[in-house]
Symmetry: C2
Subunit: 152 residues, 2 copies
DNA sequence: GCATAAGTATAGCTATTGCTATATTCGACT
DNA sequence: AGTCGAATATAGCAATAGCTATACTTATGC
């Protein structure tokens, strides 16, 4: 049950500690996904219409309004948004920062997928999930590739 | 609050229904991630050591053993694994099928990232998260790219 | 100025995924 | 065979993310 990492380990089983680290990173990303989706969307709504209302957030995410209300409360506790009762929600400085970072990552991933030859529709849908699991190094590779393709 | 999709929509706000669909797809992928991770890992452990014990699964995932026990119960209810009390766990036919598909996708994503110039370590870690959010179309693009690079 | 509609808050439920603590069973060794 | 350690089962707790139902505010129209 405890063989050392042989030179040809049949294929898939890597060092357990490395394995754990990969899963831990994926779990952590999963935990942050929703938060990033929210601040990104809030930034978009404010940028487009000047305000972000719960009903609009709910309509875009495809969830019920109380679900949004609960999440906004949590985001407020985390210092990412500021909400005034019965009014729209706004981003704090750190909320803006996170939103900007998320939007940039999203944009790069989507542009990269398109550059790779994926259809725009699929690129948009896949980017929504992939963006949260892309490290800085991979994001850089994506950006370089997309730049190279668009310049060529 | 309800402008039509102008030709230059400032950037980020797309058709609400399309937006919802992307988020729905991401949520669905999130729901399946863990299941895929489990069956993939179980297949690897069986392939490597002949059996998959809860302690080994827990050690690889970086979670506690009761967490694994609870998850295996759910996988058994879903007909993906078969467990004998106080013994290891095995994959059913559909479990094997899902595992094979997940492993293949994982392999392609990781190989693709490497082909793109990402370091093997980062490729491994990012692939663990990305694999669950890659559609068939994108996966195909990944495969083509990696093949092209390795043949070149 | 008041009724009504629209938006927000809140209560309370479910399911999922993690944990610790503890009981039970299996296996191996003497 | 009996004991002891390791593995598994089970109970119970917390946090997250969804839902419906309902109360409350705001804003709008007449």
């Amino acid at each position: 049950m405890q063989e050392p990492p042989s030179s040809t380990p049949e294929g898939s089983l890597i060092d357990p500690e490395v394995h754990v680290e990969s899963f831990r990173q994926a779990r952590e990303a999963r935990r942050l996904e929703l938060v990033e989706d929210y601040v990104e969307l809030i930034a978009d709504l404010i940028g487009d219409g000047g305000e972000a209302r719960q009903v609009d957030i709910a309509a875009r995410l495809g969830v019920a309004q109380p679900t949004v209300a609960k999440m906004l409360k949590r985001l407020a506790e985390d210092g990412l948004v500021q909400q005034r009762p019965y009014r729209g929600v706004f981003l704090t400085a750190s909320g803006e920062a996170l939103a900007a970072q998320s939007r940039e990552r999203h944009r790069i991933v989507e542009r990269f997928l398109c550059a790779l030859g994926v259809s725009p529709e699929t690129a948009r849908r896949d980017a929504e999930g992939i963006e949260h699991h892309v490290s800085a190094e991979t994001l850089d590779a994506f950006r370089r590739f997309a730049d190279g393709r668009s310049n060529a």
